[in-house]
Amino acid sequence: MLVNELKKSFLISLWFMFLTFPIMVIRVNTVENIIQWRWANLFFVGIGSFVLSALWRYLIRRKEQGIKKTEVDGVARVTLSQRLLRERRFTIPALIVIAIVALAFPFVFSLYQTNIMITALIYVLLGLGLNIVVGVAGLLDLGYAAFYLVGAYSYALLNYHFGFGFWTVLGLGAGMAALFGIILGFPVLRLRGDYLAIVTLGFGEIIRLIMENWNEFSFGPSGIANIPRPGFFGVEMNFEQVTVYVYFLMIALSLFTIFVVNRLQNSRIGRAWIALREDEVACQAMGIDKRKTKLMAFALGATWAGFAGVVFAAKTTFINPASFTLWESINILCVVVLGGMGSIVGVIVGAFILILLPEYLRFLSEYRILAFGTVLVLMMVFRPGGIVETVRRTYQYEEADH
């Protein structure tokens, strides 16, 4: 068995050596008109692909055995992350540590680090919002950045034209985003799966392209500059203080989001979303208004993107449509999928990994996106449920009073 597996890996490495031969071995030196044969590279490719392939096969086998084992036992395997989340003994100290780190962070680390943290927290907000739509209600939305854009432009434009302050627009921007969520929701009520993904993708691009081309309204690709940072009862603050202030603002906003999203998930509405994801027809037959439930998911999901957008505009003080491309939507979707669809802790972990990893992988320079892509592919193969697989708190019935 082992020999067989190794033989397969060996053949794969041969195949790889053959495939990469032209680019890895032959090098044409056009200056001196000679061909260099780099045989050493062939050797490295062979060894590398052999090791990787063997490792790959080993991990796949292990995973399959794990699945087989669960089938035989009949009990769902509780992963380490799920166990940790359930243990109060573990969660309470962990929360305390996280709280201390979060409070001390801007005073211990540099301004640059704090800024990265703010970005990560913005993605926590975005991820949690999209999680309602994709993770809980099961509606694949590829145009989520559009709502983010709506939030950011709400602040920029309302401030530019009418001089509205940050705090006023924080609510208004979220409201605008929710409104756009409903506007998108109406035409896609009947769609699901791939079709829904395509339409939402189109919607996201439409919004961005309007902003890019409607110069009179949005100042086109040149964007809007000099957006004021958030104020605090008119107190004058220097750049450093403002950054720390925004950081704590984001912490507060994140906590608020976690609180609300958690409550929503464990409510009548949250149950309806999950039922909608499980089976649309049965859901309707059980008396759930599909229209209302879907629109609510879109609107509530978009609300958080609106909040995040307003903060983003205030933080960077400059926005243009290039910040809200399809890539942005996909990035947010990655946060949700990588972290674990439907799991709040998962999405938060996912946001931090997805934003912080590329930042701290900068020493890999141009290879970092490659490394990042590899990590994503490996994740999807070996942990398709995300880093923290959904530990949805199910309703339990304990017979106590009978």
């Binding site: 929503l264 949250g270 149950r271 027809v281 059980m286 759930i288 199910t394």
Partner: protein, 265 residues
């Protein structure tokens, strides 16, 4: 028996393009009755159910319901499935459509959805009324599960239930919507004789103790004959017979539909 029908379907017609799946079908169910709808495969029974429960919008005819609670008669052609359920007609599906990744209790709680009120604000603030409602729903769901005999599975995921229990859970979920009438689409499909016998008892119990009338599609003739007060027979989208089990057993049109032309020898 009350003579006023609670479900009165007149001349129901459903066309899919050029195909007439239902051709002027009449059917009525009275309060407290168990009515069976039978017919060979492809006769249009499930289409009939889908028309009544709002999944299809029928091309012609009338579907009238009279809720026993207030005695008001309404025409429910083409209204949305969730509204049909709200008005008191709940259904189960031929191919089981449970919410697989939810627990048994949660499945039943979903059934309670349309009788609950909590909105977004209620969910976020979780005030006293919301909490009370949630608690009441859990208790109600559990008591329904107890009636159906599924209480031992209460915290299991629906997908892990044995087949017969999944079929019963569908019934429990439908009952949670507080219907005055249950529409069961082949409730005994795939069940073994023991499970079928239990189902028979269960349906009679639901009808008698809960006062819920029942319309069911079924292929198991033994079950249909023992259970039903009246039987309607369909073939090729048309109603070919109606009557008591004894009458249907002897009806030549029914025998022909089931066994073919040359049986009369």
């Amino acid at each position: 028996m009350d003579m006023e029908p609670i479900l009165d379907v007149k001349q129901l017609t459903m066309d899919f393009g050029g195909l007439r799946a239902l051709d002027s079908v009449d059917l009525d169910v009275s309060q407290g009755e168990i009515v069976a709808l039978i017919g060979p495969n492809g006769a249009g029974k499930t289409t009939f159910f889908n028309c009544i429960t709002g999944i299809y919008d029928p091309t012609g005819g009338d579907i009238m319901i009279t809720a026993p609670k207030n005695g008001r008669t309404q025409r429910i052609n083409g209204i949305k499935p969730n509204l049909v359920t709200e008005k008191g007609l709940a259904r189960t599906f031929q191919n089981i459509r449970l919410f697989q990744n939810m627990t048994v209790l949660e499945n039943v709680m979903i059934g309670c959805h349309c009788r609950m009120k909590a909105g977004i604000l209620g969910a976020v603030l979780r005030g006293i009324s919301t909490r009370r409602e949630e608690e009441a729903v859990i208790q109600k769901s559990y008591s329904i599960l107890k009636k159906i005999g599924l209480e031992k599975y209460v915290n299991e995921f629906a997908k892990n239930l044995p087949y017969g229990a999944q079929r019963r859970l569908e019934i429990a979920r439908a009952m949670a919507t507080e219907p005055f009438m249950l529409l069961l689409d082949e409730p005994a499909a795939g069940m073994n004789p023991q499970e079928t016998r239990e189902l028979d008892e269960l349906i009679v119990k639901i009808c008698e103790t809960e006062g819920i009338s029942i319309l069911l599609i079924e292929h198991d003739m033994k079950l249909v004959m023992s259970l039903s007060d009246r039987i309607f027979v369909m073939d090729y989208g048309k109603k070919i017979a109606q009557g008591t089990p004894a009458e249907i057993r002897k009806n030549p049109a029914v025998i022909k539909a089931y066994l073919g032309e040359e049986i009369d020898a």
